[in-house]
Symmetry: C2
């Protein structure tokens, strides 16, 4: 190890990536502030390498000088995983310049892409190759695939296509010792030793820097059917889900649940058409997709929903008769987050549960919160098909939001205790970062925490990669 001044480190970085790609002025603040504006870091610099070799050279310099690294993609994460600490000593490695699609192999249903590619760009590239890259989420216009991989992003098509982890065939990673692991294989089967890619996916940059990936492509569906169904309870939604899965199989690409209050908030803050003339307690948005053209998938959805209405599982249903109407139905679901924000701050929980237990969980936890925090409003919605709820708690109507937000720790405790009782996860799709680090320590079994620390210590003995994220201090 060589002690170096910040000035010396910057000079060395400039020789690696070029003067223009080392940022150390006041504009670093944009990079060092997270998307939700909860965390405000201060890095020694933001460096933007152009290729894998430059990333490796930067890493070697960091090893030499014991400079810790915070990798960053599109900076759309919700847990502060890509934000440095305020020490002024951490180096941010921003991957945005590594944005080439290296190859598309349509016959192999695979594309090789660099970490800095924006997700929407990849969706379009797949589309042009007459394929589908199915990762779809709110930030797709600016998030980068390297960040999606590092956080194992979820989104609205997990039900059918899985999480980001499930969309990967191979990876290229710059390791914490500065070497490059070329695991860019485009293979569906490969049992030659440990599956290392899954270690780096979802590790939030704590085990290395993902620089490229081979992603799976899928046949492109050419027919879609969309419906909103009115329901009495989340339990009825579970029965509808089971009914749809048994009849429609893989055609079912979305099953989103949202409650009456979500729809009320959307109507209060946005001009979105109401699906029914009357309000119902719960709603499900359903989408079927098929590679078979024509109206088959619409006929199927209609017949399945008719059966659900007859058997009393569903209270009412509307099937979109055009693409425009389908979009309108989706707007109901897609505007919930913004409508909530317009209504004021709320305490969010990104949780997952065994799907079969969601009805009990909501009932029991709603009652617990109603008892402990008088008048709170439950803005519950989410990807029911994956067991993923955005279980958000808003202040009582007419009450002071600030007073309620001050009780965040208490609310989190009540919700996460309940999640744990029901065998669930306190972070379904947004990861841990710095935001949920202490919660992880509280709820994860010591054996599992220690296993994760063992892996971290082995791969990154110097603690160069994104220290303090996910696992927190290694000696805790």
């Amino acid at each position: 190890m060589r002690r170096m001044s910040n000035g010396e480190i910057l000079a060395r970085l400039r020789t690696i990536v070029g003067d223009a790609h080392v940022i150390s002025d006041a504009t670093t603040a944009t990079y060092a502030t997270d998307w939700r504006k909860r965390y405000f870091g201060r890095p020694v610099a933001v460096v933007k390498p152009a290729n894998t070799a430059e990333v490796a050279a930067v890493l070697k310099l960091c090893i030499e000088t014991r400079t810790t690294i915070v990798p960053q993609g599109g900076n759309t994460g919700l847990c502060g995983g890509a934000t440095p600490d305020p020490s002024g000593r951490q180096l941010m490695v921003n991957l945005s310049r590594m944005n080439r699609i290296r190859a598309i192999d349509a016959v192999n249903n695979a594309m090789t892409v660099e970490a800095g590619c924006v997700l929407a760009t990849l969706q379009q590239a797949a589309d042009q190759a007459k394929r589908l890259f199915p990762l779809r989420l709110a930030a797709e216009g600016s998030c980068q695939i390297g960040g999606n991989l590092s956080t194992n992003a979820g989104g609205v098509q997990v039900l059918r296509y899985g999480n980001t982890r499930d969309l990967v065939l191979g990876l290229e990673v710059v390791l914490p010792n500065g070497s490059v692991w070329d695991g860019l294989r485009g293979l569906r089967k490969d049992n030659t030793g440990y599956d290392l890619k899954h270690l780096f996916i979802g590790a939030e940059g704590t085990l290395g820097i993902i620089t490229a990936a081979v992603l799976k492509l899928f046949p492109k569906p050419c027919a879609q059917a969309t419906a909103v169904v009115a329901l009495d309870t989340p339990r009825a939604a579970l029965r509808l889900l089971e009914h749809l899965q048994s009849r429609c199989g893989d055609r079912l690409t979305a099953f989103e649940l949202f409650s009456a209050i979500c729809v009320e908030l959307v109507h209060k803050h946005f001009d979105v058409a109401a699906p029914f003339s009357t309000a119902y307690p719960q709603y499900a948005l359903i989408e079927l997709s098929d590679t078979q053209p024509g109206g088959g998938v619409n006929t199927l959805l209609e017949s399945v929903l008719e059966a659900a209405l007859e058997s009393g599982i569903a209270l009412d249903a509307v099937v979109a008769t055009s693409g425009t109407q389908a979009k309108q139905l989706w707007q109901l679901r897609e505007h919930i987050s913004e409508a909530q924000a317009a209504e004021g701050p709320n305490i969010k929980h990104d949780i997952a549960l065994p799907i079969s237990r969601i009805g009990d969980f909501i009932e029991r936890t709603d009652a617990k919160l109603a008892g402990a925090f008088k008048g709170v409003r439950m803005v519950t919605f989410g990807h029911l098909g994956d067991g993923n709820l955005h279980y958000n708690v808003a202040h009582p109507e007419g009450g002071d939001p600030a007073v309620f937000i001050a009780r965040t720790a208490e609310v989190n405790r009540a919700v996460h205790d309940s999640v744990t009782e029901f065998g669930g996860s306190i972070s379904a799709e947004h990861g841990i970062g710095q935001y949920k680090r202490d919660e992880l320590l509280r709820y994860k079994a010591p054996v599992e925490m220690e296993l994760m620390r063992t892996v971290k210590r082995a791969l990154d003995p110097l603690g160069i990669m994104n220290p303090g994220k996910v696992l927190g201090k290694l000696d805790s």
Copy 2:
């Protein structure tokens, strides 16, 4: 560490699992011989624990006495991964008594099972719950799920449902330090730290003993369509595959390729009906499945194959008109391995390639082998949809098999060099064990080997778990 005599170790094992479940007589030879009868080990004993706590107690004893462990399931592996060395010092831990299905949660599409459950039992249990557990392979009547998990088994439905790895939601593992990691979560989304389950899946028992798992269940298809298509070349098969994927999407559950010689051998050694009145160079067996009852899937397959015949991709096609006929078509494919065995020994390669490169690979490698080994017969078949070929080389007709088999190393070199040139894998679905350990060392990049050794050393610093398998010596 305490040095203990074998007698002392056996006595301690008996107190853990009971006298009846420690085998140290001559019958250990059955356990210590692999399925292909290539490896003949000699263990200090075979121990059969009844539950996870007993496995953990056995492991702690092994740590105390520095006894190394070879875990074993149904002993159907093809690479000697579950066979001990001949030292008389290794302990075999056979999981067959841990064969309970702990829970089936149909609404959550999940079942929790112990490692010693036989695969066919799990298929039936899923079926009774009106679900599908899609792992399907030749040894399903005797292989155990713990072995399937440890080798990340493949089989005939990978195209649609993925490898064993993709069918897992959670794991329970006894770690090399004797502690139990309870990762038995039944969640579709969980981003709370590193995904540890993928480390143990496919690690062939070198990182711990998998004792239980939460497995995914799927909607049960109720309609199937099966066809055999005659083709000119593997390249034509690729075009047909692409055509089927774009039209049929997820309905395509099998796409198996086999050459004329495979069919000749089947007809020579078995009484199986010929699909066509004339012979063709290549054949594809295709299966579509659907959750929609009725003949829709048959109509679809017929129309898609009609288009393939018209455009000249396919030379001829027969679609099964009954379940019996479908079974007959499958027999053509299923009897290839046995027909080959009846014809005499051959040199097998379980390889995977980027699907798009299979045509070039076969052409180039066939030519290379024909040049170097006059008159050899290429018995090539496999799961084309996954890029997985069983690329087997048989002795020249009329020649002496023994003379040819003596050249195995040369043949392997030619084939595996070619696989590597084409970006493929030298072990698609059978793993490494001891059989391919040296090949792995030859073909895997040093960075990746070292990364695997780093993980192994970190999790198993004493080298207790299945030493010598997969990675070979750790200091190599």
